[in-house]
């Protein structure tokens, strides 16, 4: 029998230990893998928890601002009417809830009021329109909270089972003020849905949106249908006849609107959008009726069609320098066409009348961190009629101007995006009257300012506004 060498003996003795160590290593690896899986599961659970606790399901936000306006109207007779210090504050309380990945509710409640009360306590009702639904949250009113937006949104991944066709549908009170291009003058990065050149009012309705970019291979390609009701004809509750909410034939009919927003191309730098709409039974005052009855009663004057094309360039060139990267240029053209009801002088004419408007603007970065400048110009023709009563301008919608409007503004973040300051100057030079009127012949008829003044003087009426300007300082808190 051969003797074992010391080394061989040592190896023999070590074998069971090695086997044991290998077994232990396998066990350790298995346990490590199990542990890793558990950690991964825990991470997933933690992510879900963080997402929920981070507010992914529930959203709350505030947009509160205080404004100081110095406004002046130059009348056709050369006299001036002004307010050197109009202080106002506006609050938007924003809320949202994500029920699941597809279903979201969003809402905004708001008040917008002048500081304190007005001298004769009639701020709400003097003109009779302070509480008009289209502009309820744009007008200075009182400190009651009102619903500015309330809608649900359902987002589908595949229309008719086609995964290349994501879609969404939304019903409710629309985010239809401060739309595309009007966001810059408000100091907002993001625009709401409609093209602000022709629509800037609150509105109840629905939309259906299809993203066509995957289907057509055109970047940002999308089509959105919109419809809604701008005015409801119905009797009130508890009428003596007991016919609650039935149609009231003595009043104007429902105002309905249908339209579409088409985005043929949006690559983030170049964004072009077109908007078409048709609105029915539009209201206004009839001069003959006022003269006869001495009362202001709405009449149905007819329908309105509009076509708008807006283009925005977000950054000039590609990485030429920071200034050009941060510069935005935009241009927009719009056309309105009246379709008067039989025998009604819509905008003062019983014929179809066409109005035009163009709007140009530029935004530049400032010299400090994240501040910016803006400059805008728009012009409207004799029969131009926009639906921009809710535009955030104290002297009346500048976009509605039948004449020229010029605007400059400076945006300065004071504390990040939470506290910001804006200084804005708006100047409007009217060529014709009736820019911000309704659709009838009493407030909507375009007359040369000098002609309107000659007529007003003859009838003993006040002179029309020839020019107007507003210097506004805004401080805004937002989260």
């Amino acid at each position: 029998m051969k003797k074992l060498t010391p080394i061989a003996a040592a190896l023999l003795l070590a074998l069971p230990a090695c086997a044991l160590a290998t077994e232990n290593n396998d066990e350790l690896a298995r346990q490590t893998e199990e542990l890793a899986q558990k950690v991964e599961q825990l991470q997933k659970q933690l992510r879900k928890l963080q997402a929920k606790s981070g507010g992914n399901h529930l959203q709350f936000g505030v947009d509160y601002r205080v404004t100081h306006d110095t406004l002046e109207y130059e009348l056709a007779d050369g006299s001036k009417v002004k307010n050197n210090s109009l202080l106002a504050n506006r609050l938007h309380l924003k809320m949202g809830y994500r029920y699941n990945d597809n279903l979201v509710f969003k809402g905004v409640i708001s008040y917008n009021k002048a500081f304190g009360d007005t001298a004769n306590h009639d701020q709400r009702n003097e003109s009779g329109f302070a509480d008009f639904d289209w502009v309820i949250n744009e007008n200075l009113y009182d400190n009651d909270l009102r619903v500015k937006e309330a809608y649900f949104l359902y987002m589908g991944d595949a229309l008719f089972g086609n995964e290349q066709l994501p879609w969404s549908v939304s019903v409710g009170r629309r985010p239809s003020t401060t739309g595309f291009l009007a966001n810059h003058r408000e100091g907002f990065d993001k625009a709401n849905s409609p093209l602000a050149h022709s629509i800037n009012v609150e509105f109840d309705g629905a939309s259906f949106n299809m993203k066509l970019d995957q289907l057509t291979d055109m970047t940002g390609h999308a089509l959105k249908f919109c419809a809604g009701r701008g005015l409801s004809n119905a009797t009130s509750r508890f009428v003596p006849a007991g016919t609650d909410y039935a149609k009231d034939d003595s009043k104007t009919d429902d105002i309905d609107m249908i339209g579409l927003i088409y985005t043929p191309y949006n690559d983030g730098q170049y964004d072009i959008k077109a908007q078409l709409y048709h609105a029915t039974n539009l209201i206004g005052y009839d001069m003959a009726d006022i003269m006869m009855t001495g009362e202001y009663n709405f009449k149905d004057f007819g329908d309105l069609n509009n076509a708008t094309v807006s283009f925005e360039m977000n950054g000039v060139g590609e990485f030429i320098n920071d200034f050009l990267d941060e510069t935005r240029l935009f241009a927009s053209v719009s056309m309105s066409e009246t379709d008067p009801a039989s025998g009604m002088a819509m905008l003062g004419s019983t014929k179809k009348e066409t109005g035009y408007s163009y709007w140009l603007g530029a935004n530049f970065p400032g010299f400090l961190s994240d501040d910016s400048f803006g400059i805008e110009f728009n012009h409207g023709s004799k029969y131009w009629r926009s639906f921009t009563y809710g535009e955030d301008t104290m002297i009346g919608s500048k976009i509605a101007a039948r004449g020229d409007a010029f605007e400059m503004y400076y945006n300065l973040p004071l504390i990040d995006e939470a506290l910001t300051f804006q200084l804005r100057f708006t100047y409007i030079d009217y060529d014709y009257t009736g820019s911000n009127g309704f659709f009838g012949n009493a407030t909507g008829t375009p007359m040369k300012i000098a002609d309107a003044w000659a007529m007003a003087e003859m009838m003993g009426m006040p002179p029309p506004v020839d020019k107007a300007h507003d210097l506004r300082a805004t401080i805004r808190y937002k989260f």
Binding site: G54, G55, D189, N192, N314, N321, L324
Partner: protein, 110 residues
């Protein structure tokens, strides 16, 4: 005179110092990355929590480049380009703003 004005304008343009901007990040994503990734920016942003996005964009966005180059190999060339480095700060602001735990909800423009 014209030359002086040109020089002054050029000097002004060079003196602007752009900060990162979420909205700009969204625009850059739409232009440069969506065609490569194939989904919208909000889908990207929702893939991680804010704290995670922060770590993804540390050190010239190394972790982001590595992960998304693996996930979308067709985007690897762009992610390793100079252009991506230029847009990365804006992109970071964008994904942070709309991250899974950001509390931001889509609206009817979405």
């Amino acid at each position: 005179m014209m030359k002086k004005i040109t020089i002054a304008v050029a000097a002004l343009m060079l003196s602007f110092n752009a900060l990162a901007d979420a909205e700009k990040g969204q625009s850059y994503y739409l232009k440069y990355m969506k065609p490569l990734f194939g989904y919208n920016g909000d889908v990207l942003a929702q893939q991680h929590l804010q704290v995670e996005w922060k770590s993804y964009f540390r050190k010239d966005a190394k972790k982001f480049i590595k992960k998304y180059s693996q996930k979308h190999p067709e985007a690897a060339e762009f992610l390793n380009s100079e252009t991506f480095q230029k847009i990365a700060p804006h992109l970071q602001d964008f994904v942070m703003k709309y991250a899974a735990d950001s509390g931001e909800l889509p609206d009817c423009n979405s």
